[in-house]
């Protein structure tokens, strides 16, 4: 359990949120030109790294807004939170 600082509502318990997986995955511009492997790569393959990961989160039981979180998956420490459409503060 940890606290997430929703960019709209403020600090809330993690149980109010749901994780939407890895962030900043771009949809291919011409999906019809991709092979099955390339499409599967876009659709299913995620990094799932141990360490700092860029994720999408949704304040499902609050304002219902999506935002991005930079989280260390090894210890749940949150390094940054930024709104959808904003540039990631860390690289």
């Amino acid at each position: 359990m940890f606290i997430i600082n929703c960019p709209y509502c403020g600090e809330r318990d993690q149980s109010e949120f749901s994780c939407g997986g890895e962030a900043h995955i771009e949809r291919p511009k011409q999906p019809t030109e991709l092979s099955d492997d390339q499409w599967a790569e876009y659709l299913f393959m995620r990094k799932n790294i141990k360490g700092i990961q860029f994720e999408r989160w949704n304040h499902a039981h609050g304002c219902r807004k999506w935002f991005n979180v930079v989280r260390d998956t090894s210890n749940d420490k949150i390094h940054a939170i930024y709104k959808m459409g904003e540039r990631p503060p860390l690289k």
Binding site: E16, G62, C63
Partner: protein
């Protein structure tokens, strides 16, 4: 609309805590990202939609709760408002906002059940199964919070010192009501 069929219809007192369902009152959900929206709401309801998170604005007739940066909930303070008055208000909002593509107006009167809590221990009661930190909420009159109580989504509105309104979806209301009553017995 307004064919109310409440699941609770009860009023309970447990020591210092008083719990009561307040109905029938009109509740309207508003959504918009347009600039003109605030002015129009101001003209119709004489209240401006709050832009600050977790706050509300209100007057004698209505309360306007912040739900998200582009979503608000209006509810009436007056249980005795006639059906005609309620429909007129909804029509006005609909004509000025939905019809002119300024946003969305949805009547959610039958969707939300409003339960009024009064007493010194209401926050202790809710804290039994709520992850929300009430420290700031209970100090500030008019505060709004959307959170979970006993795993059920709720909207909380701080009405006054030791008084709050809790909105719960109709389908979950009976379950939450039973939990509240069960927990309040031990306060």
């Amino acid at each position: 609309m307004l064919n109310f069929n409440s699941t609770i219809k009860q009023k309970k007192t447990y020591g210092d805590i008083k719990i009561e369902e307040i109905e029938p009152i009109i509740k309207i959900n508003l959504r918009s990202k347009k600039r003109e929206f605030s002015k129009k709401i101001g003209k119709i309801l004489s209240i401006l939609p709050p832009t600050e998170a977790n706050t509300s604005s209100g007057n004698e007739g209505y309360n306007l709760l912040w739900l998200s940066p582009d979503e608000w909930l209006v509810y009436s303070n007056n249980k005795n408002q006639s059906l005609k008055e309620q429909i007129d208000m909804e029509d006005k909002l609909f004509d000025e906002i939905s019809k002119l593509n300024q946003g969305a107006v949805t009547n959610v009167s039958d969707h939300w059940i409003m339960i009024n809590f009064k007493g010194n221990k209401i926050y202790d009661l809710l804290s039994k199964s709520c992850p929300f930190n009430f420290n700031e909420f209970k100090r500030k009159k008019g505060s709004v919070a959307q959170t979970l109580v006993n795993h059920v989504d709720v909207i909380l509105h701080n009405r006054d010192n030791n008084e709050l309104n809790l909105f719960v979806r109709r389908s979950f209301s009976e379950d939450l009501w039973l939990w509240i009553n069960d927990s309040a017995r031990f306060m």
